[in-house]
Symmetry: C2
Subunit: 171 residues, 2 copies
DNA sequence: CCAACATACATGAACGTTCAACTATTCCGC
DNA sequence: GCGGAATAGTTGAACGTTCATGTATGTTGG
C-alpha cells in the first residue's frame, strides 16, 4: 500500500509516513531481512542451529555458573517463555544444557550450559561473529556505529518507558 | 569466499567485536525484536495475517494492474519463491489474490490483488502505519531518520555489491 | 488458615518458513 | 530442431514459533 498518498483522504485519524520516512522504512525492512537471513543461514550451515538457540547458549555462557532461571533466560535472550521451553527441550536432547528444579522456588527451573554445549558455542562463535562483522560493521563507519546505537536505544527506551513491561532488554 | 582452512580458531584470525560494537549489536537485536514483535502482533490482532502477507498484498497494490509475476513479487516482497508460493495459496483461498498463467511465458504465473484483497489491505493499513510510526519514527529525531536510512543503504549496497545476486531490494 | 489469584513452566495444536525434490516450460548450442 | 541446461513455480516434510491451555507452586487478603 502506498502510504504516502491516498485516494480517499481521511486525514484526521491516520498519521501517514512522509515519503522520506517511507523509503527509510523500506530500506530498514530490506536491511533487517538481509542481516537476519545471512546470520540464520550461516548458523544453520556451520552449527546446525537457529540464531535463537545460539543466543540462548550465549546468554547462558555469560551467566554465573553458566546457569540461569528459565524466566530470566527468556528475558535476557528475548524469547517468550513458551519458545524457550520448546528450545530448552531440544537443547537438552542435544546435551547442550541441563534443567533442574530451583530449590528456593519449586515452580522454577535452572538451566545450565553443559561443557559440551559450551564447546559447541565456542566452535560456532568465530564464524558467527565474522558474519555479523561482515554483514553489518564492515558496511558502516565508526560514526555510524555510534548513530545506530543511539537510534536503537532511543527506540527501546521509547517503547519500554511507556507501555511495555521492560521486555526488551539489551542482553 | 575464504577458503583458508581454519582448523583451530585462535584469537588471531578471528576478528572479534569491540566492546562498543558488541553493545551496539545487542541493542540492534533488541530493537529489531521489539519492532518485529510489535508489528507482527498488531497485524495478527487487527488483520489476522502475518507481516509477510501484508507486504505481499501491499506490493501487489502498487503494481500496474495490481498484478505481478510471482518471481518479481518474491523479489519485491523479499520472500523466497517457496515462501511466496505457500503464501499465495493461502491468500488465494482467502480470495485476496488470484493467480493465472502468464501467456508470454507459460512457466510463469501472474498474481493479481482482488478488490476484496485491496479492501482488506486498505482497512489494515492505517493501524499498521500507526504502529510503524509509534514504534520507530516517534522514537527518533528527523536527523536520526536520515542517519538510519544511510546506514540501511550502506549495509544493503555493501552486501549486494559483492556477492549476493541483488536479492535485497528496497521494495 | 485458606480460598483466590498470580507466577513459572510445560504441552499440543495450528501456523509459517525452509529445504529438498519435482514438474513444466524456455533457452541455448550444435 | 534436438538434447541438455536453466528458469518458474509447486509440493511435502521437517522444523521453529505462537497461542491457548494445563499443572504445580507461591502469594495474599479476609
Amino acid at each position: 500500500m502506498d502510504t504516502t498518498t491516498r485516494t480517499a483522504p481521511t486525514e484526521q485519524d491516520a498519521r501517514w509516513l512522509t515519503e522520506h520516512e517511507q523509503t527509510t522504512w523500506r530500506s530498514f525492512l530490506a536491511m533487517q531481512r538481509l542481516i537476519r537471513d545471512t546470520l540464520e543461514r550461516q548458523l544453520q550451515r556451520d552449527a546446525a542451529m537457529p540464531m535463537t538457540y545460539y543466543i540462548i547458549l550465549a546468554m547462558l555462557s555469560e551467566a554465573p555458573q553458566r546457569t540461569l532461571r528459565m524466566s530470566e533466560l527468556a528475558v535476557i535472550a528475548g524469547t517468550s517463555q513458551s519458545q524457550l521451553s520448546h528450545a530448552a527441550s531440544r537443547l537438552e536432547e542435544s546435551g547442550w544444557i541441563t534443567r533442574r528444579r530451583c530449590e528456593d522456588d519449586k515452580r522454577g527451573y535452572l538451566a545450565t550450559l553443559t561443557d559440551e554445549g559450551f564447546d559447541v558455542l565456542r566452535k560456532a562463535a568465530p564464524s558467527h561473529v565474522e558474519s555479523v562483522r561482515s554483514v553489518l560493521f564492515d558496511a558502516i563507519s565508526p560514526q555510524q556505529v555510534d548513530q545506530l546505537r543511539d537510534i536503537c536505544e532511543a527506540v527501546l527506551t521509547h517503547s519500554c518507558g511507556e507501555e511495555s513491561p521492560m521486555r526488551y532488554i539489551v542482553g
